[in-house]
Symmetry: C2
Subunit: 205 residues, 2 copies
């Protein structure tokens, strides 16, 4: 065929929608007191979950942390530079890898259930596949937060081993990113940092 | 403050826009012959580049591969199950980690230029930071492809060492994902695979 079939012609985002999740969106560093509801947080996941992973393995797990006791337990494991931001965030998501994601393969990849055993037998493949795909899903998650009219504040600065001991004591989940979520407060943005020059990133063959 | 300041009230995506990048979008397995222009491919990056990375390190590099000689060089390194799909794709992106991303830190994170030396001295931190953030950016990239009315077909099934020898002979870039890009062809979608149950992914504290 030489033309795109009408049935599979795809929509695209207009400039306004692109600005919401890419061009105008910013990482927030202060938070309004406006709460974020559990319904909003559930909806973020119901959007993010549809984007693709290798062999549909979906290794990402999300612990949503409420203000109060839950947040207090998390804040003490954040880096000093992140404690105040997280302590003020209306909601926080701890993103983790399920290191035994492959147990779900017979359900999520039913045409090749034997891949469960392939992953079970090959720890390097399991670890690499979990890390790559959970991070891909974290990218989707951040943009899904923004799609809901919320700001995200992703952070690598925390003690992952301590967070895991605090919230994932059985050792199965390994945290790798913490994301503050809410409505921006006063002076929420730092100056925008430069992006690499196009030709430093893009090459052609 | 108890209310969201009007100046920082954020837009959100409507259901149509959400469907374009999340809910209705699908991984394509066949391709129309309709070409994808270099301008479209450049625009995909100009959108994806704005989403956040840790300390703004931006380790992702993108090699865009044209039909013809470039694509032929790539196809031979794809897994057997992926060769035909990539051989028919109007455009292909090889996503790689720049293992020396930290050399750009004085430019991209000017408030802490010394982090270049911290990464230089700590190979484990450099490798982990590169992998996590390049994969986050790959997630943004896939959704940016979709934002342009194009379908993405991401694949882990290829010989990364051979791809690197073929295209990145100096050893600095390490490929980790190949993404076919184009307009969907005949019967482009497999049946949609199940997503994990909400409660298998989401927990609360």
């Amino acid at each position: 065929m030489t033309e795109v079939a009408e049935a599979t012609r795809l929509g695209r985002l207009d400039d306004e929608a692109r600005s919401v999740i890419f061009t105008r969106a910013r990482t927030a560093n202060t938070w309004a007191e406006t709460p974020v509801s559990d319904a909003e947080l559930n909806s973020v996941w119901e959007l993010a979950k549809w984007a693709p992973t290798s062999a549909n393995i979906q290794p990402l797990r999300v612990l949503y942390v409420h203000p109060g006791e839950g947040r207090d337990r998390l804040v003490k494991h954040m880096s000093d530079g992140n404690k105040a931001k997280t302590a003020a965030a209306p909601a926080v998501a701890v993103l983790a890898i399920d290191t035994r994601f492959h147990e779900h393969i017979p359900t999520v990849f039913p045409m090749r259930p034997e891949m469960k055993d392939v992953f079970e037998a090959n720890e390097d493949m399991r670890t690499a596949g979990g890390k790559l795909n959970a991070a891909l899903q974290a990218g989707y998650f951040i943009l899904a937060v923004r799609a809901h009219g919320l700001a995200a504040g992703p952070m690598s600065g925390f003690d992952a081993a301590d967070v895991d001991a605090e919230f994932f004591a059985d050792g199965r989940y390994k945290s790798f990113l913490v994301i503050n979520i809410g409505h921006p407060g006063d002076s929420p943005w730092f100056n925008r940092l430069p992006r690499l020059d196009h030709d430093d990133v893009i090459s052609w063959a």
